[in-house]
Amino acid sequence: MQKYLAFLILSCFTLFPCFSQEDKPLRLNYRSSMLGLGQASVYDSYLSPLNYSGNSYSFMEERISMTGLSNGNIAVQQLFYLDYYSTLNPPGNAIQYAGFLEYSPGLFYRLAPLPDLKVFAGSQINALAGFVYNPRNSNNPATAKAHLNLTLSAAASYDFRIKSQPFRLRYQISSPFVGAMFSQNFGQSFYEISIGNNENLVHFASYHNQIILRNNLSLEIPFNFMTIRLMYANSFYETRVNYINTRIYNNSFMIGFSREFFTIPGKKQVKGNFKRVFE
């Protein structure tokens, strides 16, 4: 009896994936990698009362796939940004660097009001770590930037053709609405923090002291062998904590590739029954 039960249980586990793969469409993962160049503006009152501006260098990685949640209408997205700014003060005699590492995983509900239009709305967890560094300063050479936020995000994707060439236009807007962020005190040095004064460094963050916005508008042009993605990326980061004001914005033009792929365990034959994020 025990052998029979064991066989039954093993059979269920063995056969279940086969049935599910045959019955359900295989969910494709969308992945896009991009490099960008643009113009950035960096203002941090802890370091300088002047607004620095200069070049920005960006990298972005995006992954999306549909999940089995809510009748298959929930998409999971991961966004990874790496930004580096090299800026000069208005007279051009001082340089200031800034770097940010950002990771945003999120879940989106997908709607299809029109056959070629997909609308996504959801929320992300937005984690950011970065710095603004001014080598000219003495005991205030840098500020550390860090936050962990819950973000509201909406996106839309529209497929269209010009003659026989298909295009996909995508837009996504994200803005953190609640979370926690790090900020040193108004006149506090990092020396004081280093000897253990950690008081009042982590703050509740919302729109009253933090406005962060990301806009991505992209055009995807599929070819036979690859899909090229062109994107205008705009980011706006503003905080007002402990009388320290920070405003950093960046406008970048990005170019990269996107592709769809699937991962299945073992060598299994895959039939053409796919579920795509944007179709």
């Binding site: 203002y43 370091l47 300088s48 009362p49 002047l50 607004n51 003060n89 208005p90 007279p91 051009g92 005699n93 001082a94 709607l111 009001p113 609308v119 709305a121 001014n134 000219r136 300063n137 003495s138 005991n139 205030n140 509201l152 909406a154 803005s175 005190n185 108004f186 006149g187 506090q188 040095s189 020396y191 004081e192 000897i195 253990g196 004064n197 008081e199 729109y207 406005i211 916005l213 503003e238 007002r240 402990n242 009388y243 004001n245 405003r247």
Partner: protein, 436 residues
């Protein structure tokens, strides 16, 4: 499937097996198959009942009636299913439309919120790159961030009015520099500097108005000679009477823990060492901490620090204690004399403030120059940099050391005529030899 199956069976029997004539068969189809409501189906059944006269056996008639009934039932069921699926489709579509409308509403609210939020963004103080703009920018930076207004009893608003009247639109670069530097000198702070590509605005009265009490030439000729050692910016040598001597002239010179080990190990057999920090204008606090940690065997409260929490002149945090932990490497266990003069400033002042707390350490010489405010930097619209005291530090008794630290043993005599001896070093040697 059920409808199709019953239709096929019905079609088969209405052919010829029941002997129904073709006209009647067609009529039967028209009634039964093409009509879909219950009323016409019932009519078909009635018509079939009358068709009994058409030479059908009872059995066949019963079969045919059953088949027609099955078909009608299946068709009705199919119709119900279709209606149900249609209703479900409409319900889902309605839900989707409602969801889309709700989402549109939410997105609209979010967009409006963004508009509201962006209308309340931070404002950046934009000072023009003019003499007036630079003057106002400098005054405001100091007003908000300088930390010793109250301690030094400086009326910064009065200073603004006095110097603002002297700002002219057609001032040249040098005139503006002189005016701004003069305004900053009102603070009497060695940590306040105006840094430009052509000059360094400074306040050096904290040592210029006092005896120097140090002569590098005498030190080199009569004490260090040419056979001294150098490590981590320290010049050191064993003097003739078994007293170790270290001259450290700049706390910006990085101190290597390994170098300190070698130096202190070399002086292990001495009766004591002299640490000469005269004319040391400061540097990195980390170096001062590393050096001082070699002369204590226990964790020691050495001072306090605070910072500004707002833009007001008296917006300060609570005092935060600074502890010095003993080094885990070689620590010196014999008497030590630290030689000071008025040019000991900033990090050197901090070093002296810590060292005087240790039982085997004696501070000798002149009062230090002070400089207890941790300096920070900012800049003007024209790109000139400004440095200022931002975070005040205090000694272990919570007393300010901005104006300097008195030595344990004050040495006032410096005979300028006798250029063969350094009276500070001689006094230290005698003190160490006596204490031995």
């Amino acid at each position: 499937m059920e409808v199709r199956r019953s239709y096929r069976k019905l079609n088969e029997v209405t052919g010829s097996s029941f002997g129904v004539v073709s006209d009647q068969c067609r009529q039967l189809k028209r009634f039964v198959i093409t009509r879909r409501n219950d009323e016409t189906n019932q009519k078909a059944l009635n018509w079939l009942a009358s068709g009994k006269a058409l030479a059908m056996t009872d059995t066949n008639f019963l079969k045919l009636t059953t088949l027609v009934s099955d078909y009608v039932a299946a068709k009705s069921k199919s119709l119900t299913c279709n209606l149900q699926s249609r209703a479900l489709f409409l319900t889902r579509r309605s839900q989707r439309l409602r969801r889309t409308a709700a989402m549109t509403k939410t997105i609209s609210i979010i967009c409006l919120s963004f508009l509201y939020i962006f209308s309340s963004c931070v404002e950046i103080d934009e000072f023009k790159d003019t003499p007036r703009g630079n003057f106002e920018a400098l005054w405001k930076i100091m007003d908000e961030r300088y930390c010793f207004f109250s301690y030094k009893e400086v009326d910064w608003n009065e200073i603004h009015d006095r110097y603002s009247a002297q700002v002219k639109d057609k001032m040249n670069r040098d005139e503006l520099f002189q005016l701004l530097n003069k305004m900053l000198q009102e603070l009497q702070d060695g940590h306040v500097n105006l840094i430009t590509p052509f000059d360094l605005g400074r306040y050096w009265k904290w040592f210029e108005d006092y005896p120097e009490n140090f002569d590098g030439k005498i030190l080199n000729e009569h004490y260090l000679g040419t056979d001294f050692s150098i490590a981590s910016g320290m010049r050191y040598k064993m003097l003739e009477d078994s007293i170790g001597y270290i001259y450290y002239g700049n706390f910006s010179s990085g101190i290597s823990p390994t170098s300190l080990d070698y130096i202190l190990y070399k002086f292990a057999d001495c009766d004591g060492i002299i640490i000469d920090v005269r004319n040391n204008g400061g540097g990195l606090l980390s170096n001062a901490t590393e050096f001082a940690s070699r002369f204590t065997n226990e964790r020691k409260l050495v001072g306090y620090i605070q910072h500004k929490t707002g833009k007001g002149h008296n917006d300060f945090s609570d005092l935060f204690p600074i502890y010095l932990d003993p080094s885990t490497r070689i620590r010196y266990q014999k008497p030590v004399v630290v030689l000071t003069n008025r040019s000991c400033y900033s990090a050197t002042n901090d070093f002296v403030s810590s060292m005087r707390l240790f039982p085997l350490v004696t501070i000798m010489g002149d009062k230090t120059g002070g400089g207890s405010g941790l300096p920070m930097s900012s800049e003007l619209p024209n790109g000139w940099a400004v440095r200022f005291s931002a975070c005040p530090t205090y000694d272990a008794d919570k007393q300010p050391v901005e104006s300097g630290i008195d030595p344990d043993i004050l040495i006032e005599e410096w005979d300028d005529k006798d250029r063969t001896q350094d009276p500070f070093i001689e006094a230290a040697r005698n003190y160490l030899l006596k204490s031995d």
